[in-house]
């Protein structure tokens, strides 16, 4: 990216990024976010993330973005995985072991139905 020289530059860069992201959402892109703060990692988020990536590879899935984020504050529910399909609402899962991650992948990400048993209620 270019250097930001003014407030206008900043606005332009942000709008470009926003457009890019909206285009992805409209095209139905699926996003999986794994909480990778110290707490998440200690609770096994790396294994969970690995299971998700393996599932995607095994099943040759496309149009899925997997990314990481920090700690959201629900420490006793870690590892936390958030799933959003296109413009749909974000669903937050808690205590996601690699097995549960594979179940979420199959039923929610591929199948389209939320795995209610592991959804975090506020």
């Amino acid at each position: 990216m270019d250097k930001v020289k003014s407030l206008e530059d900043l606005k332009r860069i942000r709008e470009e990024a926003l457009k890019k992201r909206q285009a992805k959402n409209v095209s139905g892109q699926k996003e999986i976010v794994v909480g990778m703060g110290t707490v998440g990692i200690a609770a096994g988020a790396r294994q969970t993330l690995k299971a998700i990536l393996e599932y995607i590879e095994e099943h040759n899935l496309t149009d899925i973005v997997v990314r990481q984020t920090g700690n959201i504050g629900l420490d006793s529910m870690e590892p936390i995985v958030q799933v959003s399909l296109g413009e749909g609402e974000k669903v937050t899962y808690g205590k996601v072991t690699p097995e549960i991650a594979r179940q979420i992948m199959a039923e929610h990400v591929v199948g389209g139905s939320v795995v209610k048993a592991f959804v975090v209620q506020s």
């Binding site: 990216m1 020289k5 703060g37 990314r67 990481q68 700690n71 629900l74």
Partner: protein, 544 residues
């Protein structure tokens, strides 16, 4: 995340759950979503609220209206009438007798909104901390752009002063005033230092910000540097925070590439360079002058003050030292204005506070709530109550240097002034919630031992005082304590508080003072009856 305008609590004790609390909660979620108000209202299952004859209860803040018993079919009316149109539904309200007893606290706080309001943690757990684009999409570097292109340094300081922001490291010093001191100080060069040596046991709020939203600290330090006239900065990160350091370095690199760090930022002529400095595991280096010594490559021992770092800090130059959480408040304040910030929290302590919740409660973790909510609310709403069958006995706030809060103070609003008036300290925001199986002598022993080990040994009261206090407490725990020991402990507290060189020693007496003030009977039982009422202490020195 937008701040909520209402908070709705659903009771979830066993009887409420049997009577359909889950369905009520689910209907609330669906109905608010259907009306498009889901993001304005915070829904929460709350633990046992102390009433079981009109459950499930639905409590709506800030009006503090209590509905009950609520059937899943009633939810639609509550949502449409109360939450959407703002009209209370009297027919569904619990009869007034339900409002007595333990549940009274719910209505006592009418007009306040104990809902989470994330300012510091706004992006943590949402954005990808390793991707600067994500930060930009969430208003990143907007405050910096505004400050550099539209405001003078004096205006920035005035804005921070007007916001009423107070330091979140524990002492609560007004941030704008500190900035003003550094701006006024004369020096060939000035520095901004971020104190990220978060070493209070049980505190991890700064880590969450550093790991989840590193750019916000960089942006805040840039704004601070512009305001006080600094050209170089250090983030002093605790050595154990490897992941935080890694993410900060990545973020600094990205910010440099995009021109947010370096020379002539935003074409304004302002230049700033930033470094990450790793600590090496010493608690004392969280004290600002010891931290400065450590950056200079010396042994981490506090300096004598005055002169203060604001005039004679790093390499003898004027230096601004701010805590991570304090800094994280800066970009939102400048983006949205001081008036917006001042409206949150209490008049004397505006804004929010991040708390880390641990101990004998159902849900542990991290919350950010407006200043002034009470411990009872934190336990009931966010920690979902004590573990089954347990009673709240005490809370330890702010790591070791915080206070031991007895159950009698759990309705004191948690802000700097209310706590100071009650004779306790807010500290760094760790809340260790303990049940009746916790012995105060044992707890004080653990805390004093921490200070004994971490004391740098430079000044006598701290070096010898903590050792002596530990010996006395160990004797009491072993059943060989004497009543005179309690007077000596009180004297030790006075010496530590009044004669120590730095903040470590000055706060080391806090556990002694709190134990003697609030739990004297329990301590005396150890001495007079040779019994530990909680059955924790070994009492090994006492022969029956």
């Amino acid at each position: 995340m937008k701040p909520y305008r209402s908070m709705v609590l659903v009771s979830s004790d066993t009887k409420s759950l049997e009577s359909g609390a889950q369905d009520v909660f689910r209907n609330l979620q669906e109905q608010t979503r259907a009306l498009g108000i889901a993001d304005e209202i915070s829904l929460s299952m709350v633990g046992d609220v102390g009433r079981h004859d009109a459950v499930p209860l639905v409590i709506v803040y800030p009006e503090a209206v209590i509905y009950g018993p609520v059937k899943p079919g009633d939810v639609q009316r509550i949502v449409e009438e109360h939450l959407y149109k703002g009209r209370v539904v009297p027919e569904l309200q619990a009869s007034s007798r339900e409002l007595s007893g333990r549940i009274a606290w719910l209505s006592a706080r009418k007009g306040t909104l104990p809902a989470e309001n994330r300012i510091v943690l706004e992006r943590a757990g949402i954005i990808d901390p390793t991707n600067i684009e994500d930060y930009l999409l969430h208003n990143g570097y907007e405050a910096l752009g505004k400050v550099l292109s539209e405001m003078t340094p004096a205006q920035v300081i005035d804005e921070v002063k007007a916001s009423g922001l107070r330091g979140r490291g524990g002492a609560g010093f007004p941030t704008g005033m500190k900035w003003g001191f550094v701006a006024k100080a004369e020096g060939a060069k000035k520095y901004v230092v971020c104190n990220a040596d978060e070493s209070e046991p049980g505190t991890f709020k700064d880590r969450v910000v550093l790991e989840g939203d590193p750019h916000s600290i960089i942006e805040a330090m840039l704004i601070a540097a512009y305001a006080v006239g600094a050209s170089e900065g250090y983030i002093y990160v605790r050595g154990e925070y490897v992941l935080a350091q890694e993410r900060l370095r990545t973020a600094i690199h990205q910010a440099e590439e995009m021109g947010f760090l370096g020379d002539n930022i935003f074409g304004s002529g302002f230049s700033f360079h930033l470094h990450v400095h790793s600590g090496a595991g010493a608690y004392i280096c969280g004290e600002e002058t010891a931290l400065i010594e450590s950056i200079e490559g010396k042994r981490g021992e506090p300096r004598s003050r005055p002169p203060y770092p604001t005039t004679n800090g790093l390499w003898g130059m004027p230096t601004l030292v701010n805590n991570v959480e304090t800094l994280a408040n800066i970009p939102p304040i400048l983006r949205k204005g001081a008036a917006w910030y001042k409206a949150i929290g209490t008049p004397s302590s505006p804004g929010t506070k991040v708390y880390t919740i641990m101990g004998h409660v159902n849900v542990t973790g991290l919350i950010e709530v407006p200043m002034g909510i009470t411990l009872r609310e934190v336990i009931a709403i966010y920690a979902k109550g004590m573990k089954p069958g347990r009673t709240f006995k005490l809370a330890q706030t702010g790591g070791s240097s915080g206070s031991i809060i007895p159950a009698s103070l759990q309705d004191t609003p948690m802000d700097f002034d209310s706590f100071a008036k009650a004779g306790v300290a807010l500290g760094s925001g760790a809340l260790l919630i303990c049940d009746e199986d916790t012995c105060v002598v044992d707890l004080a022993k653990v805390l004093v031992n921490f200070f004994r080990v971490e004391s740098c040994g430079k000044c006598t009261p701290c070096r010898i005082g903590n050792q002596r206090a530990y010996t006395l407490l160990t004797n009491i725990a072993n059943g060989v304590g004497k009543l005179e020991d309690l007077e000596e402990l009180r004297t030790l507290n006075d010496s530590l508080t009044q004669l120590s060189n730095c903040g470590l020693g000055q706060t080391a007496g806090t556990p002694l003072r709190d134990v003697l003030n609030h739990f004297r009977a329990e301590v005396e039982a150890h001495i007079r009856l040779k019994v530990c009422p909680s059955g924790v202490c070994p009492m090994s020195g006492h022969k029956n």
